[in-house]
C-alpha cells in the first residue's frame, strides 16, 4: 500500500462526495423534467448564485483557519444599502464600488483584530459584527432604496453570449474570478498554506515560526472583502438596497462550505468543494421551482437534511484518523 493510495481518498473523499451529489441531483432533475438538462439551466445556477459563490469562497478561508464568520449576510445587506443610497445621492460608480469594498474589508479587519488580540471566540465577535452591520443599514434608511443609475442597470442587464446560445451575466465572471484567485491564494501562497496550518494546529503553526497572526486576521479581511463584493453582485441582481436583504445568507454560505466537504474544525477542505456546495444548493432550488407545487421552504428542509448527512460523513472520516 503506497502512501499515495492511502492519501488521495481520505483527503478528497468529501469533495468527491459533493461532486457525486451534484451530478445525482442534476441527473434526477434531467430525468424528471424536460429542459432541465440544458446549458442555460446550468448557466442560471451560476447567475442566480454568483453572490453566494463569492460569499462561500470567503467563508472557506475563515472555516479552514478554524474560525467562523456570521457577519457576512449583514455585510451583504449593508453593501447593497451603501450602493443604492450612494448612487441615489449621485456618487460616481467607481467611488461607490471602492467605498463598499473598503467598508467590508475594514469591518472584517476590525473583527479579526478583536478575535486575535483579545482571544475571543470568533462566533461571538462576528455575531456582534452581524448586528452592527445590520443596524447600520437602517441608520442609512429604513426603506428599500431602488437603484436607478443607468450605468449600473446596464451592467446588471448586460449578457455575455457563450457558444451554444447560452447567456451569462458579468456577475458570473466576477464570481469565477474570485474562486480562481481563492484557489491560487490557498494552494500556491505561503499565506494560504498558513491558513491550513493554523486550522490544523494553531500552537504548532506558531512554534513553526509561521505568521499565524496575519493568517488569523487576514481570513476575516478576506471574508469581509468577499461579503462586500457579494453585496455589489447582490445589488446588481436585485437592483435595490435594503436592510432586510440577505437575512440568514451567512448560514447558507456556511452550509455550502460544509456540504462542500470543508471540516468545520478547520485545516481540511477546498474552495472547489464550496463552489460545488453552492451548485448543489442551487440545483435543489431549481428542482423545486421546476416541480412547481412545492413551497420554496422545502429547499431549507432538504438543505438541513444534507447538512446532517455531511457532518456525519465528516465524523466518520475523522475518527479513524485520530485513533491511529
Amino acid at each position: 500500500m503506497t502512501a499515495l493510495a492511502t492519501r488521495l481518498p481520505s483527503r478528497f473523499l468529501p469533495v468527491l462526495a459533493t461532486v457525486v451529489l451534484f451530478v445525482l441531483t442534476f441527473g434526477v432533475g434531467s430525468g424528471l423534467y424536460d429542459g432541465f438538462a440544458s446549458g442555460q439551466v446550468i448557466a442560471n445556477l451560476f447567475i442566480d448564485n454568483a453572490f453566494l459563490i463569492v460569499l462561500a469562497a470567503g467563508m472557506t478561508f475563515v472555516i479552514l483557519s478554524g474560525g467562523i464568520d456570521l457577519s457576512v449576510g449583514s455585510v451583504v445587506a449593508l453593501s447593497t444599502m451603501v450602493t443604492a443610497s450612494g448612487l441615489k445621492d449621485g456618487w460616481p460608480l467607481p467611488l461607490v464600488v471602492i467605498a463598499v469594498l473598503l467598508i467590508g474589508s475594514t469591518l472584517g479587519l476590525l473583527m479579526g483584530l478583536v478575535i486575535h488580540k483579545f482571544d475571543i471566540q470568533p462566533f461571538i465577535v462576528t455575531l456582534a459584527g452581524m448586528f452592527l452591520a445590520r443596524g447600520l443599514c437602517f441608520l442609512i434608511s429604513v426603506e428599500s432604496v431602488s437603484i436607478k443609475d443607468t450605468t449600473f442597470r446596464a451592467i446588471a442587464t448586460a449578457v455575455i453570449e457563450l457558444p451554444g446560445g447560452v447567456t451569462i451575466t458579468y456577475n458570473v465572471i466576477i464570481a469565477l474570478v474570485v474562486v480562481a484567485v481563492a484557489l491560487y491564494v490557498l494552494h500556491r501562497t505561503r499565506f494560504g498554506r498558513t491558513v491550513y496550518a493554523v486550522g490544523g494546529n494553531e500552537q504548532s503553526a506558531l512554534l513553526m515560526g509561521l505568521k499565524t497572526a496575519r493568517a488569523k486576521v487576514g481570513v476575516y479581511v478576506i471574508s469581509g472583502f468577499c461579503s462586500a463584493l457579494a453585496g455589489l453582485l447582490f445589488s446588481l441582481y436585485m437592483l435595490s438596497g435594503y436592510g432586510l436583504h440577505a437575512v440568514g445568507m451567512e448560514l447558507e454560505a456556511i452550509a455550502a462550505v460544509v456540504i462542500g466537504g470543508t471540516l468545520l474544525a478547520g485545516g481540511m477542505g477546498y474552495v472547489l468543494g464550496s463552489l460545488t456546495g453552492v451548485l448543489v444548493l442551487g440545483t435543489i432550488q431549481t428542482l423545486i421551482s421546476f416541480q412547481g407545487t412545492l413551497s420554496s421552504w422545502w429547499t431549507k428542509i432538504v438543505i438541513g437534511a444534507l447538512l446532517l448527512v455531511f457532518i456525519a460523513v465528516q465524523r466518520g472520516l475523522i475518527r479513524p484518523r485520530q485513533t491511529t
Partner: protein
C-alpha cells in the same frame, strides 16, 4: 571548529514569573558554537521555560539575551528562527494535516512565479530527509506517519535552514534505541559543522554520551555550568536535586524495619473479571506495602480497578475487615476507606485550572457532601500540612495546578487522597514521568504511611522501585496472578517470573 571562547548565545540575569510561580530567577546561560550543551534539572526546574525564553515564546521580565554579540528580544518564534535558532520540542509541534514537505519547509519554501514551487519543495524536503536517513514520501500527509517519524520530520525542519543554534527539548522521549543513535549521529555531524546544540533529556546515559558541557538548574535558579568530563553522575544528581542521595538509602532501611503482622484489611477471594483479569486471591494487611509487578498489559491496572470498584467483578468476592463488601462503584469503595490514585493524573485526577488548595480539598468536600462546607481554618491547616509533608513546590496554596511540574502535580493528587485518610491507598504508577527527587519523596512517603498503619498497593513499571519499597510483591503475567514473593526478593527473581523462565512453584516457597 569555531573559537571556543566566544559564546553564540549568552543569556544574563533572566527572570520570569507566571501567576503564583517564579519560573526563572536571575539565570545565566551560555552556549558555544560547535558544542552539545545539556540543560539539566528536575521537572519544574525551569528548563523548558528557559528554552522558550530563548526561542521567543516567552518574554523575560528582566535580563538580556545576546546572539553572536548583539542584544536580541524576540517577540515571536518566527523571529528567533530567522535569526538562526531552530527548535524541536518534546511534543511534535507540526501540523498533521499538511504534507511532510510543507511541514519541513513552510515559512521558507521555494517559490516560482509568485507562488510556491511544490516540485522544488518536494525535492528539497527529500534531500533534507535523506541527510538524516529518513526515507518517506515528502508529499504524504504527516498524519499518516507514526509519532517517531513525525519527530524526525520535526528535526528535519529544524536543520533545513542553516541554523546556528539548534534546540532539542527532550527529542528522544518518543524514539527507540536505533532512532536515538541515528539522532546522535546527526547531532555530531551538525556540531562538527559548528552548530551550537542545546540538548535536554531525562536519560543520563544519553546526556553523558553526547554532551560536551552541562548547565544545571534547580527551582528556577542556576546551580552551575560544568564540562561533562568534570562532573560525574553522582555529583550531577546531587546538583539537580539539591540534597544528598542518602534519601534513597534511608527508604531501604525504613522498609526493612517493619515486618508486617497486622490484621488483614482487605481480602480478595477468587475475585476476577472476564476479559480483564483471571480470578485471584489477595490479602492486604494494615501497614503493609504490596507491590504489583508485571509488564504493561499484564493486568496491573485491571486488578487495582477491581479492588476500587471502578470495574465490576464478574466472580469472587471482596472482604473488608472480614465482612463481604459489595462494591457498587468507587463511591462505596471510598466509603470503605479505599483510595485510588490513577496513573492518568491529567485526565482522571486533577482539575488543572483550580489552585492547589482547592484541588486538595476536593475529595474531602465530596466525602462530606455539599451541605457541609470545609471550614477555611481546617482547609488552611490541611494544605499547610501536606504542602510541607510532600514538599510541593511552589509552596503557595494559591498556585494553579496547571502551572506545576509533573512531579508536583502528582504530589498534589496524592495529597488529595491522603486528606481523606484512607485505610488502603492504591497507587497506580505514581512515579511515572517524574524526576528522581520527587520519586524519592513519594517512595519515602509510602513507607511512612505504611508505618503509620495505612495499607498501600503500589503499582509501578519500574521493577527496582517495587522491589525496594514493597513488603510483598505480587507478580502478574498475561492477566493472571502468577506468584507472591517476599519483600527481600531480588529484581532478577521478579524479572525471571515475568519473563516466564521459572515456574512459580519453584520460587514461591
Amino acid at each position: 571548529m569555531t573559537e571556543p571562547d566566544t559564546p553564540i548565545v549568552e543569556m544574563r540575569g533572566i527572570s520570569l514569573a507566571f501567576p503564583g510561580v517564579k519560573a526563572l530567577q536571575d539565570v545565566d546561560f551560555r552556549l558555544f558554537p560547535g558544542e552539545v550543551h545539556a540543560l539539566m534539572g528536575e521537572n519544574g526546574a525551569g528548563k523548558s521555560t528557559l528554552i522558550k525564553t530563548l526561542t521567543g515564546v516567552h518574554t523575560p521580565d528582566s535580563g538580556t539575551v545576546q546572539l553572536a554579540g548583539d542584544t536580541v528580544a524576540f517577540a515571536e518564534p518566527a523571529q528567533a528562527q530567522q535569526a538562526g535558532i531552530s527548535t524541536v520540542y518534546q511534543e511534535v509541534n507540526l501540523c498533521a494535516n499538511l504534507t511532510v514537505a510543507e511541514n519541513i519547509l513552510l515559512g521558507r519554501e521555494p517559490r516560482k512565479r509568485g507562488g510556491i514551487d511544490f516540485k522544488a519543495m518536494r525535492t528539497q524536503a527529500a534531500a533534507v530527509l535523506a541527510r538524516i536517513g529518513v526515507h518517506i514520501d515528502p508529499a504524504s500527509i504527516l498524519d499518516t506517519h507514526p509519532i517517531a517519524v513525525q519527530q524526525l520530520v520535526a528535526i528535519a525542519r529544524a536543520i533545513a535552514i542553516d541554523c546556528r543554534v539548534l534546540v532539542l527539548d527532550e527529542p528522544t522521549s518518543s524514539l527507540d534505541a536505533g532512532e536515538v543513535a541515528e539522532l546522535f549521529r546527526i547531532m555530531r555531524v551538525l556540531r562538527d559543522e559548528g552548530v551550537a546544540i542545546l540538548f535536554v533529556s531525562h536519560f543520563l546515559d544519553q546526556v553523558y554520551e553526547i554532551a560536551d558541557r552541562m548547565t544545571v538548574l534547580r527551582n528556577g535558579t542556576l546551580v552551575g555550568e560544568h564540562l561533562t568530563k568534570d562532573l560525574d553522575r553522582r555529583s550531577l544528581i546531587s546538583a539537580m536535586i539539591g540534597r544528598e542521595l542518602g534519601v534513597l538509602e534511608a527508604i531501604e532501611d525504613a522498609s526493612e524495619r517493619h515486618k508486617v503482622s497486622g490484621p488483614v484489611l482487605v481480602q480478595a477471594e477468587g475475585l476476577g473479571r472476564r476479559g480483564a483479569i483471571a480470578p485471584f486471591d489477595l490479602d492486604i494487611r494494615a501497614g503493609e506495602v504490596v507491590g504489583l509487578a508485571g509488564l504493561l498489559g499484564s493486568g496491573r491496572t485491571e486488578m487495582a480497578r477491581l479492588l476500587f470498584g471502578a470495574d465490576k467483578a464478574t466472580e469472587g468476592r471482596l472482604l473488608v475487615d472480614g465482612t463481604p463488601l459489595h462494591l457498587r462503584g468507587p463511591r462505596s469503595a471510598i466509603a470503605a476507606g479505599i483510595a485510588f490514585c490513577s496513573e492518568d493524573r491529567k485526565g482522571e485526577g486533577l482539575v488543572a485550572d483550580l489552585s492547589i488548595r482547592d484541588n486538595l480539598v476536593l475529595a474531602m468536600q465530596a466525602a462530606r457532601g455539599w451541605s457541609r462546607p470545609v471550614p477555611r481554618k481546617l482547609k488552611d491547616q490541611l494544605v499547610e500540612k501536606y504542602l510541607k509533608a510532600l514538599d510541593i513546590r511552589p509552596a503557595n496554596p494559591d498556585a494553579l495546578v496547571r502551572t506545576l511540574s509533573g512531579g508536583n502535580q502528582q504530589k498534589v493528587l496524592l495529597a488529595r487522597w491522603l486528606v481523606t485518610e484512607p485505610r488502603l491507598l492504591i497507587l497506580d504508577e505514581p512515579t511515572r514521568g517524574i524526576d528522581i527527587g520527587a520519586k524519592a519523596q513519594i517512595q519515602q512517603l509510602v513507607t511512612t504511611l505504611a508505618s503509620e498503619g495505612t495499607a498501600v498497593l503500589f503499582i509501578s513499571a519500574e521493577m527496582e522501585e517495587v522491589v525496594r519499597i514493597a513488603d510483598r510483591i505480587v507478580v502478574l503475567r498475561d492477566r493472571q496472578k502468577i506468584a507472591e514473593l517476599d519483600g527481600g526478593s531480588s529484581i532478577d527473581e521478579v524479572v525471571g517470573l515475568i519473563a516466564g523462565e521459572q515456574l512459580p512453584e519453584e520460587v514461591a516457597s
